[in-house]
Amino acid sequence: MEKQTEPSGVYEVFVQRDHLDPMMHVGSLLAPTNELALQLARENFTRREQILQIWVVPRTHIYSAEEDDFHAREMDRSYREVSGYTENGRLWRMFKEKEITLEEIVRYVEQKKQSKHDLHREESHES
């Protein structure tokens, strides 16, 4: 009973939609206890969506950077980004090949069975 007389606190709400997804912040709510916050979160945020997990976190427990320049990037970081290497496509063409991307590799590896067509295509580069 004592808890209900306390003022409601702000809770931040996070949901996870699939095992392969991270927890995502979806909004916040006011509630007097953890348990009620969880109930409310379910009612407010997941009435239709099929979700896997909800977290409610008291806002006072969230610690974040206050300075504006905490995330500042002082210098060009293209050397550590894919976008810094766009010339690869042109260079591969000089060798009569094409660039590969990570997405292409992932798709290729995830294929259930290696299709005949694919291997032939790869092989035909040689001849």
């Binding site: 095992h19 392969l20 997804d21 991270p22 970081r77 050397y79 550590r80 980004e81 894919v82 810094g84 290497y85 010339e87 690869n88 260079l91 591969w92 000089m94 060798f95 009569k96 090949e97 660039e99 590969i100 991307t101 990570l102 997405e103 590799i105 992932v106 290729y108 590896v109 995830e110 290696q114 005949k116 694919d118 291997l119 032939h120 790869e122 092989e123 580069h125 040689e126």
Partner: protein
């Protein structure tokens, strides 16, 4: 429910595509295999830093130096992310980060064969980025479908970072390939040095009982040989296009069998490198790792006690 029934239901679940979370019940066998696999993955990321960091001071220009440092930082980061996953899994056995790292310097956990080798030239450093990362990406991409959800989520993140490693490695190799005769010779020499290590990287042809168990639990969904074949299909044509010769005259695509035929690496020789830490650089790098571990003890202490 008795453990036999629990195990059967667990297997039925993972085989129908269910994902397991750290807090879910899991058979001991499943937990052990995961610890073994991810612990080895984690320490391989850390040991994989050594051959490349050796080239940071010697990189040919500032941009390459920055890129190499960024890559080294990423790989250390991968080691950290993966160790965190092992910590959760190993908690019931009272094993934490300290013990997991001790295992490395005490030779109780193995790391990938390629990181026992020497990065002798700038072409070696480039080839590591292109082909070793390439092989590792194929392996990691295949694990994205693992039944253990925390591992799958972290691999998603790791793969996203690997896309920079891939482009960086290719860029280094392409510029050497466009260089002088001497530089091209250096590149060929590098391929000769690494080729069989690369083939070995994917593991033995036969499906060992442990590998069979991993497939059974859907920790893995592809065999070593399937992954090696995928690597060959993607990379051999590109190696050839650069005008390089792969040091295996028998290498070809067999269209009848629908697979790449290749000369096998000397399995026992490479196995010894991994299981006894007897590669050209194994002991030196483990010794460096031991020094780092001793000297950084105060950092870990500060991080765990907050002093």
């Amino acid at each position: 429910m008795d453990s036999q029934r629990l195990e059967e239901e667990f297997v039925k679940r993972v085989q129908s595509g269910a994902k397991i979370e750290a807090s879910d019940w899991m058979p001991d066998g499943y937990r052990h295999l995961l610890i073994k696999l991810i612990h080895m993955h984690a320490v391989s990321e850390i040991m994989g830093v050594y051959p490349e960091k050796e080239w940071v001071p010697k990189a040919p220009n500032l941009r390459r130096k920055l890129a190499l440092m960024a890559k080294v930082q990423d790989e250390m980061g991968h080691g950290q992310l993966l160790l965190r996953i092992v910590e959760d899994l190993a908690a019931p056995y009272g094993k934490g980060r300290e013990e997991l790292l001790d295992d490395l310097v005490e030779g109780k956990v193995k790391f990938h064969n390629v990181f026992h080798m020497e990065a002798r030239t700038w072409a070696d450093a480039g080839l590591i980025g292109w082909l070793i990362d390439g092989a590792a990406i194929i392996n990691q991409a295949s694990l994205l479908s693992t039944s253990y959800a925390p591992y799958a989520r972290i691999l998603k993140r790791i793969c996203a970072e690997e896309s920079f490693h891939m482009q960086h490695g290719e860029n280094v190799i392409l510029s050497i390939a466009m260089g002088t005769d001497e530089q091209r010779k250096m590149l060929q020499d590098s391929l000769d040095y690494w080729w069989y290590s690369l083939l070995f990287f994917f593991g033995p042809l036969e499906i060992t009982p442990a590998a069979q168990k991993m497939l059974h639990y859907r920790i893995r969904t592809k065999t070593n040989e399937e992954l090696r074949q995928k690597f060959l299909a993607k990379y051999v044509p590109r190696i050839w296009s650069l005008g390089l010769t792969i040091p295996d005259p028998t290498l070809h695509y067999d269209s009848k069998l629908e697979r790449w035929h290749y000369a096998e690496p000397e399995w026992e020789v490479f196995q010894k490198i991994v299981s006894e830490n007897k590669g050209p650089k194994s002991q030196e790098r483990i010794a460096l790792r031991r020094i780092a571990q001793d000297q950084h003890k105060w950092v870990r202490l500060a991080m765990t006690t907050g002093i």
